[in-house]
Point group: C2
Chain length 220, copies 2
DNA sequence: TGTACATCAGTGAACGCGCGTTCACTGATGTAC
DNA sequence: TGTACATCAGTGAACGCGCGTTCACTGATGTAC
């Protein structure tokens, strides 16, 4: 047990600065909340004590890092934003799948969501539901994501006839459709089941409708 | 206080059968949960005692009506399903707004959501988030709603070239877009504000994209 | 480099509180005769 | 219609438990000289 007390030093590790240690504990609290979400709990129903227990610190230590649970929630939202921006960055780097572009993108997205299931579970849940503060923070984050996506499409010369505002609006629709799909992706039993294939197919077709609509869009 | 005890009889009311009284208490529990949701609470974070307190019964009485909170949640989902079916029924009865069809429908929907804000707040929140049981129940309910909408459109002869499966898929997209919008509708500060108009405009344009996409849809 | 003091992340104990669940009970409603 | 008994929705008290928050504390890290 001595090894887990805060001041014990694991022999193989070098000394750690106070600020680094503090940042590490902060991250442990965030990870603990995500781990509990991963066990099927919803963020709104987590207690401060559960989180500190999972993180391996005493309840009172929580207050060295966050004023209350909402503030930890905002940190999770920020992490969600970072995750979404990474999705775009990877898309930019890897380019569009050469054949069957839409289905390819959907499968890439599906894998991305599954690899970061905890963050997406959190976003999908609190987007519609949690406290007003979290909901608005997530809405803002989603909005930024949609705007960035619109700018990327503009740069790539996709749908050059659309006005910026129309492109932005369409990306907003794509984003909400993606986030709805994230919830479906996480709930479908994994493995090459019929359900899974139907879910992917449905998602692909819905995006196709949106892009067909975008191609034929005319300003009023 | 005597008037609020279960056996007291308000003089002006006729005697009530035992089963009617039980149904009334059950409804009070449901209404109490909705009332608390209306105060900005999320269903997942409600406690059994809060609900019974709000309903004006003793905590133990809860068990005469529901096994646990999930079972009450399922009753709320069912109520949500009834609400959605009523929306379709009214649409059938009143027909499509004669001019500016889409914007007209959106405004009708907006008023509908605002009038039943508690139910929609619940659905919007638990759809992505609550317990797995509730999420699946809501998914099922939404699916039925989409199927019914598809059938209505078929009967009305809207988009007669689409296969039933394509029509169903498109209605699914419309429904998720509607439910996302419900969350926006409930969060936007009411009154004739700029924000409100922009939100409605965005919603209208997104639906327009979907319907344009549907008109140009070709089976693979 | 060494020493004396300051800082502060995390501890551990304590507090009062609301929680879910149980149980024997009460008394109005329902039923059999 | 009247009477005797059964039913059961709701009561009220009790239980053990985990909760959020507070506080004086400890001791490793950081700093001034």
């Amino acid at each position: 047990m001595a090894a887990s007390t805060p001041h014990a030093r694991v022999e193989t590790e070098p000394p750690i600065s106070r600020s680094a240690r503090k940042a590490r504990t902060r991250q442990r609290l965030i990870d603990a909340a995500l781990a509990l979400i991963g066990q099927g709990r919803s963020y709104t129903s987590l207690s401060l004590r559960e989180i500190t227990r999972e993180a391996g610190v005493v309840p009172g230590a929580f207050y060295r890092h966050f004023r209350d649970l909402d503030e930890l929630g905002l940190a999770l939202v920020e992490m969600g934003g970072v995750t979404l921006r990474r999705l775009l960055r990877e898309a930019r780097r890897d380019g569009i799948p050469p054949t069957d572009m839409l289905r390819g993108s959907v499968l890439v997205y599906k894998r991305f969501v599954e690899q970061r299931s905890l963050v997406f579970r959190f976003i999908a849940a609190e987007r519609g539901g949690g406290s007003r503060i979290l909901r608005n923070a997530i809405r803002t984050e989603d909005g930024h994501f949609a705007s960035e996506m619109a700018q990327d499409l503009r740069v790539l010369g996709v749908m050059p006839d659309l006005s910026s505002s129309a492109l932005r609006m369409i990306c907003g629709l794509v984003v909400t459709t993606m986030l709805n799909a994230a919830s479906d992706i996480l709930d479908v039993p994994s493995g090459q089941t019929v359900q899974e294939r139907e879910m992917v197919e449905n998602f692909v077709r819905q995006l196709r409708v949106i892009f067909i609509g975008a191609r034929h869009w005319r300003e009023d």
